[in-house]
């Protein structure tokens, strides 16, 4: 069950150019979110911006939860100026979250850009499995959470489009190289991904080629977040599915690109 609740801001910290981590304390009891689930947040009490905005759960603790966001437009511009003590309205947790990882399966986590948010949550919850983590960004400056990952003893494989850090190329290229090298082991792997649609598309082909199970967390513009408006549909082999309610996580093999 998802809930509508107020949360007070504990901290709103810039972690890299245009990227912030927001720590929220719900003012009432809420449901503990699972990795891959998300919240819809209101950034204003007025009528502009009007709609709530979806943000993945980045980290959960006893009393707080965090989201990691990138400033891209109207609502995130306002959000970045919020201060500790400000109260905002939230709806969630929403969506299905990543499926439980089966025993004996080694998770491969792969994130592009701010897509690292839900995968960091997943990494924390399965760190005992020592997941592999592939982290991509346009350039070195936009690589997020490397230190946070190292703190939970995950040393990510890095790729940047311009080669300013790690391998030059996309994070899917990096994964492809890895899978090619370790092709005998791949059936014991399962891929969990979040990033731009083009990345998920490439990845689904790659996973198909190696016959590995793969899940991706999708994004679509949203209005309601609860499956009512039909705004956020993706095309799957089973027909149209809502990202907000039936997703955001789908098996990549089910998506019709």
């Amino acid at each position: 069950m998802s809930k509508l609740f107020l949360a007070s801001i504990k901290e709103n910290k810039e972690i890299a150019g245009s990227h912030y981590i927001l720590t929220l304390s719900p003012l009432t009891k809420t449901i503990k979110p699972q990795p891959g689930q998300f919240f819809m947040l209101s950034v204003s009490n007025g009528l502009d911006p009007l709609l709530k905005r979806p943000f993945s759960i980045f980290r959960v603790s006893e009393k707080h939860f965090q989201i990691l966001y990138r400033v891209v437009g109207k609502a995130t511009e306002i959000l970045k100026n919020k201060k500790a003590g400000d109260v905002i309205e939230a709806l969630g947790p929403l969506g299905n979250g990543f499926p439980r990882i089966k025993p004996n399966i080694k998770p491969i986590l792969i994130a592009g850009g701010v897509g690292v948010a839900p995968l960091f949550a997943l990494a924390e919850s399965v760190k005992y499995k020592k997941p592999l983590f592939f982290l991509g960004a346009r350039n070195k400056k936009e690589l997020l959470c490397i230190n946070e990952l190292r703190k939970i003893r995950i040393n990510p494989v890095i790729a940047t489009d311009d080669g300013s850090a790690g391998l030059k190329g996309t994070v899917v290229d990096a994964l492809s190289a890895f899978l090619t090298r370790h092709s005998s082991l791949v059936t014991r792997h399962c891929i969990y991904a979040c990033g731009p649609k083009a990345m998920l598309r490439e990845l689904s082909f790659l996973a198909g080629k190696f016959n590995i199970e793969a899940y991706g967390a999708f994004e679509e513009n949203m209005a309601c977040g609860v499956g009512a408006c039909l705004g956020c549909m993706v095309n799957t082999k089973d027909g149209l599915r809502s990202v907000c309610k039936e997703g955001p996580v789908f098996p990549l093999g089910e998506i019709l690109w």
């Binding site: 509508l4 009528l47 709609l51 513009n221 209005a223 309601c224 009512a228 408006c229 039909l230 549909m233």
Partner: protein, 307 residues
């Protein structure tokens, strides 16, 4: 001291509602989606997402984009079809003590009539709302809601096909909504829903592409409220059938404004997305307003604007 409870019931023709707060089609799914937030028993009526004879896939994404105090949608009337609705969704709604209004559309006069006929046989459906005003359909279809002659024809055909209370949902994308209201009334409509969305467009200046895959979409939300209130008032002065007012209702004050303009009931749309409990908050707010102003019957608000 005995305190008389205020009367919240209103009549939309033969359709009796326990209170004037309804949901707007397409913004409340098939009722289930909001059942965790709203006690459906407390709603005047649930109006479901627009249905057609056959399931429909709607438009590609992006289907939604926000605009100043509003949003554009181009869902394209995606729906599961009447058959699946009756089998999979209606039983859920029947469990509640509320009125179920089925919004529907066709792609031709015959399809409209056929859809109305199919829906009329089912117990648990209390009224039909006929959508002739979706802005996301092709040019030819648009005439159902913009050419009074075509409106008259399609409403007449549906009127013959159903004994249920028939609500006709009007388009704001017209020069004179009074003529459209008259056409629907003359063809036998029992009530009018005013308004559907206004056609709009929004362009991403970086990609130079429209924000919506469908290029244009329907504008809803507070941005359109002044236009909607004006049109409700114009229809109220013209037509003698009840009006369901909608378009940008967020608060109880907005709902009261529509009733003063002439609405016998109100439908809450985009507000559900912002606040899933919006309908309940609006209902509470109307009650509070009535007791503050000493109004014991909500019907006394209808058309109460003094001009």
């Amino acid at each position: 001291m005995v305190r008389l409870k205020s009367n919240l019931s209103v009549n939309i023709g033969k359709l009796k509602l326990k209170n004037p707060v309804m949901t707007a089609s397409g913004t409340f799914g098939y009722g289930e989606e909001y059942a965790g937030f709203v006690d459906l028993n407390k709603l005047g009526a649930v109006v479901v997402k627009g249905l057609s004879l056959n399931p429909s896939r709607g438009n590609p994404t992006p289907r939604i984009v926000e605009t100043p105090s509003g949003m554009l949608n181009a869902i394209g009337l995606q729906n599961i079809g009447i058959k699946a609705f009756i089998k999979d969704k209606l039983p859920f709604l029947k469990k509640y003590d509320t009125k179920v209004v089925v919004n529907f559309f066709g792609n031709a006069v015959k399809e409209y009539a056929e859809a109305a006929r199919r829906l009329s046989g089912e117990s648990g459906i209390h009224a039909l709302e006929m959508n002739i005003s979706c802005p996301n359909k092709q040019a030819g279809w648009i005439a159902f809601g913009t050419d009074p002659k075509v409106t008259f024809k399609v409403v007449s055909a549906v009127r013959k096909a159903t004994p249920l209370p028939l609500i006709v949902k009007l388009s704001p994308n017209v020069t004179d909504i009074k003529i459209m209201a008259k056409a629907a009334e003359d063809a036998g409509a029992d009530a009018l829903s005013v308004i559907n969305t206004i056609t709009g467009m929004s362009i991403n200046i970086k990609t130079r592409r429209p924000h919506l895959a469908n290029i244009t979409g329907g504008l809803s939300g507070p941005a359109i409220k002044p236009v909607a209130v004006r049109m409700v008032w114009e229809c109220y002065k013209t037509a003698s059938i009840p009006i369901i007012g909608m378009g940008g209702i967020i608060t109880a004050d907005d709902a009261i404004e529509f009733m003063l303009a002439g609405a016998a009931a109100v439908a809450v749309g985009t507000a559900n997305f912002i606040n899933p409990k919006a309908t309940m908050d609006i209902l509470k707010g109307i009650t509070a307003f009535m007791s503050k102003e000493g109004i014991n019957d909500v019907k006394r608000l209808i058309g109460g604007v003094e001009c």
